[in-house]
Symmetry: C2
Subunit: 443 residues, 2 copies
């Protein structure tokens, strides 16, 4: 057994897999606990996913929604971070297999989140673009800006049109926010940056298989969202599913087709559980069945929290809690406090979800929010959305940079980060290769 | 002949190759000229190279030193931008061959800049890291942060030490600024982020083949720079050249060796002239010989400005002007005004260089500057350096974001952008591949 260079300890060792909302929340709760905490993540940063769509649409720098995990926890003397891929778990011997070696745990907390779900459609999975990671968001930005540049080189409408048709699949908050941002790219950026482009050829589609957008919101707000998006020029289609997509033609369940080179998929997420967990704790959607203390069914010291965990102790959510930041944050905190209680011989508390409301932004001065029965739309909702996201974003520097980007965009209608970052070009191919050789994995 | 979709015109067409300091300067000068200007660049942004080293050392976001060229020129109705690789020129038929097709020009301005010069040492070129492009700076940031992460997994000093030895080659402003920034990473970031690392194993070397650092500065400032760097812990070596580097052992001209996995090369730049230019206008250093009007020797309508041009009309610079931003900006402006004069039947003015001084920053509160005989060091020089760079940086948003990053760093001693951006990981390999398939060239 390889043991990576992790400090020995006589304290109980809690290994947390994943530095998303659930992971950072439990680490914070364990700050002063008499335990050693090992936090593992494949990246060295916490990603603020709710603003990812703004990176994809050239509204924010990637760095302003990513916060270094080491910076977050360097004052926590009992916390050790390691950048590692987690491969499997041996629940008999309490060993986690990772890309940096095997790590022994006394308690294991799986907070590995979720990833894009293509619902088994292989052809769609191969040709659509997901948007769950920072690199995917950067790739979308690069890709979309390149579509604009390449459109300029074409003369025939039927060649240009597939390049300027952008289709978002999934009418949840991500799809709505992306569609709104694309509509604003068309409205404010395209005419200025590409005066030669036939702008009427750009279309933004939002496709939702269910009867309405923002399923988790009230009917009233769903309808308002649809209206607002349509005012911005988005073609909203409900009760229509994606049947197939070969990279150039999108076929819908109603038989219609759309010629597009850009299908951005935010129609669902699923869990990717660790190998080695008991089979009967795993659900077809990739989530792990846990009890009201987040303990994985059939195990004594392995927990799951956040998107990856499916807990059904609340009649409002018979299929488990929604896979959103709020649930992750609250589950992380509750489990952290419960472990603290356990070490102090106090009783543990079952998880109880406190719904703090939902919000989605549609565009400039347009958003919808629901807080304990109070519904807001338009300008007020949009202000509330901005304030909440600024407050929740981690890091003072990040808050300031995001705030400046937003103010700048509000007053100038401009999006400052519309740059295409790509590898070195023709006459320095050798240099590109050089760096690749030094470390092939860097992008 | 393929003609990319560029608007027809009866006006004379001036094609400018490269959107660096020289290129944007001539485009600005031609703003109101009775000409059509086609600006070509392989990237869609202007890069503010003087701050590139801060991207490489996790002090700034890439987006804050890159400004979209379309945003810069969208009010210039006679300017058309195209993102293109330029391959060759046919000076007989006035045609430029590019990756997006052939483009006819009436006047051609080559402002394609320079790239890293390894002086023919192939093994060094293959194993060292250059720092001239945005992607190279991001790759350096990723690479350095990964070296820190990987060091943590090792136990023996002799394994850790090569990962934490960082060698800068070249004692010009870039080498000095990089070395200073690495020294500050060691001083302020490493102890906080990696308390488990044996910090004494990290060494920053600065190697200069000549007798002193900052060759273009006075002796006094050179010495002060060396002192300041040494106070920060940098091991400065002068009169020593790189003999060889195989990726793990650096061999110096004095026979000494350094075990290092990171050799960052800023020891020189060279031009990469277009194919098709007359052979006797090309110098061994890749620069193009021009006359005092920037006209290429032997041609009537092809000019070169900036780093790529070698003009020897000033006895102070018998080997041509230094390859710096000031020269590029002034040559672009002068040629632009000359072309304007030409179309107005006014006489052209030969290029005359006005040296506005030099500056280099070493670290927190430390810099050296020379302005028309006035030499500054320490805090005042550092303030002057910051003000000048903020003023010269293009874009209001960029200025604000850079200012915030600097203030944040000054007061917290923190570097906010120390994140490793890499492709998706093990359990989402399929997704990574998906996006690659959509567009293999995006990074």
């Amino acid at each position: 057994m390889i043991q990576p260079n992790i400090p020995d300890t006589t304290l109980p060792r809690i290994v947390v897999v994943g530095g998303g909302f659930a992971g950072i929340s439990i680490v914070k709760a364990l700050r002063k606990a008499p335990v050693q905490v090992i936090l593992l993540d494949r990246n060295n940063y916490h990603l603020f996913q709710p603003l990812l769509y703004q990176v994809a649409t050239a509204g924010l720098e990637p760095e302003s929604i990513a916060f270094p995990l080491r910076g977050m926890f360097h004052k926590y003397k009992n916390v050790h971070f390691r950048m590692a891929e987690v491969r499997a778990v041996d629940t008999v011997n309490n060993i986690l297999e990772t890309g940096i070696g095997d790590i022994h745990y006394d308690y294991l907390v799986i907070a590995s989140g979720s990833n894009t779900n293509f619902f088994g459609n292989k052809q769609v999975a191969e040709n659509a673009i997901g948007m769950k990671s920072l690199i995917e968001a950067i790739q979308i930005r690069n890709y979309v800006l390149k579509q604009f540049e390449e459109s300029l080189l074409l003369e025939k409408d039927e060649e240009i049109s597939p390049k300027l048709n952008f289709v978002m699949v999934g009418g949840g908050p991500t799809g709505v926010e992306l569609a709104g941002a694309f509509a604003e790219l068309k409205k404010y950026i395209l005419p200025r940056d590409y005066p030669e482009l036939p702008i009427h050829l750009m279309n933004v589609f939002l496709i939702e298989a269910g009867p309405r957008l923002l399923n988790g919101f009230s009917d009233k707000l769903s309808n308002r969202t649809k209206e607002d998006l349509e005012k911005l020029g988005v073609k909203v289609m409900t009760n229509v599913a994606v049947k197939d997509y070969d990279g150039s033609t999108l076929t819908l369940s109603d038989g219609n087709t759309i010629k597009t080179q850009s299908l951005i998929w935010s129609a669902g997420v699923k869990g990717f559980p660790l190998k080695g967990l008991p089979g009967d704790s795993l659900l077809p959607n990739g989530r792990i069945v846990v009890d009201e203390f987040q303990l994985i069914q059939g195990l004594k010291n392995v927990y799951a929290i956040g998107d990856i965990a499916q807990l059904t102790n609340d009649p409002r959510f018979p299929k488990g809690y929604p896979m959103v930041a709020q649930v992750a944050l609250q589950q992380g905190k509750n489990l952290g406090n419960n472990l603290l209680n356990f070490f102090r011989n106090k009783p543990m508390k079952p998880f109880k979800y406190k719904d703090l409301g939902s919000m989605a932004t549609i565009g400039r001065n347009r958003a919808v929010t629901e807080f304990s029965g109070i519904q807001l739309t338009g300008y007020l909702a949009w202000l509330a959305w901005m304030v909440v996201h600024l407050l929740k974003l981690i890091g003072f520097r990040n808050k300031l940079v995001v705030f400046i980007n937003w103010m700048y965009r509000y007053f100038t209608y401009d999006r400052g980060t519309r740059i295409i970052i790509k590898r070195g070009a023709a006459n320095i191919v050798k240099l590109g290769k050089t760096v690749t050789q030094v470390d092939p994995s860097i992008d």
